[in-house]
Symmetry: C2
């Protein structure tokens, strides 16, 4: 097994490990806490991240870790794991099954492995540099959408677009077929599956988007920031993913105004 394949294997075992932990808290007795940014944080969030961190420390103690809940270690390492134990916490605490777990591995700052794991739906996307993205083990492909006016566009909420970003998103929305909300990380998986054409978001953290890159690019799509740059730890939290290069270019132009 190549080194990258071994890392991807660990990432899948991490996803296997978080699924029962997350489901143990879903629709059950939630211990909801409040962070400074008012997003809900559950015991599930912390336990899932702890379980994943233990697995990384056991297998690759020299790798860095950047987690939503338990902070960062060894970010100067060649390999850094970026973890979002529960993406879509508002869905999670309201009993909606479209929350996910995001697992990314970066090499020299570039995402090379990405997993979108949907514990309550029993669905998983795995993206690995140089391989075709899989959905529950089967290769998937983003679809062509040469006409931007035909694009189905997703964003988690219009409230994530602050200041000038709100007007930029509005331009993109009016140029697209329709905007659909409320999907969190799931929208990127649907784009990889070829049933969604665009995902545009802002106010994101690295653990929200690092896993997305390998999943999208391994399905033939494009995932960048709003300037067209590759996503990484240093990105500004604005994400634009598309299945079709023409629609991606048209969306970049709409966002730029």
């Amino acid at each position: 097994m190549s080194q990258l394949a071994a890392f991807a294997d660990l990432a899948e075992r991490m996803a296997d490990a978080v699924r029962p932990i997350a489901m143990g808290y879903f629709r059950g007795g939630l211990a909801i806490d409040t962070k400074a940014d008012t997003s809900p944080v559950t015991a599930a969030d912390r336990e899932c991240e702890s379980a994943m961190r233990r697995m990384i420390e056991d297998a690759y103690p020299d790798h860095g870790i950047y987690g939503e809940e338990h902070g960062s270690v060894r970010l100067e390492s060649e390999y850094v794991w970026v973890l979002d134990p529960i993406d879509g916490t508002k869905s999670f605490v309201t009993g909606r099954p479209t929350f996910g777990t995001l697992i990314a591995l970066l090499r020299h700052g570039e995402p090379v492995v990405g997993i979108i794991e949907m514990p309550a739906l029993g669905e998983r996307w795995v993206g690995v540099h140089g391989r075709a993205t899989t959905f529950n083990g089967k290769p998937v492909r983003a679809r062509a959408c040469p006409d931007p006016a035909g694009a189905w566009l997703y964003a988690t909420t219009p409230e994530m677009f602050v200041g000038a970003d709100a007007e930029a998103f509005r331009r993109l929305r009016l140029q697209s077929r329709a905007a659909i909300y409320g999907a969190d990380c799931y929208a990127y998986g649907l784009l990889a599956n070829g049933t969604v054409d665009l995902v545009c978001e802002a106010s994101m953290q690295p653990y929200d988007y690092c896993a997305v890159g390998p999943v999208i690019t391994g399905a033939g799509g494009i995932a960048t920031d709003w300037q067209g740059n590759t996503l990484g730890l240093e990105s500004d939290g604005r994400v634009l993913a598309a299945g079709d290069a023409k629609t991606h270019a048209a969306a970049l132009a709409a966002l730029a105004g």
Copy 2:
């Protein structure tokens, strides 16, 4: 079996019948059409409604039917069925499993049976006048939320609030804990389950909301228009559902401005 129980039994058999039809088109080869209001309509939509109408005509040929796809018959009847074969068509065509089928039976204009069927999730809420609402066969209960500031609020999209409704919804959103988007009919089911506190929507058609009333009230919640009136065929398309009477009253006040 009482007459109402027999009607509820038919409604469940209708939900059983649409599930495989809808799933046969989900994430598959969709024949997408466009209606005047630009909402996508699929072959699944038409086939599901036709199947349900046949079952009603066979069992109760004197009952009226109000369907999204195939129009109205016998609306002057004591009993009228209101059908939305695919609620959340944008979710459906983009491969997101949170679309549903809505089945309502009205007696003298008042909803007495309501079903929220989620084909892709294998979940179903059944509300029958005088009975406890069930979720996959088990009774459920909406939860208390005496403080409106703690309420988790759902709406399908902020774009459904047009003109003064947009400002009214904004007041409600700022008074609540958070607004979450993109759930269509599923949000009302989650409210009946006691994991969501408020659902506020507008620009709705009778087939979008008639099934909601019996599901919510059978779980101890309240479902009205924005003036606090019971929902029926003649409602104006604005819906406010809550699990707690205090939160419902505070939401009515926020919407009134």
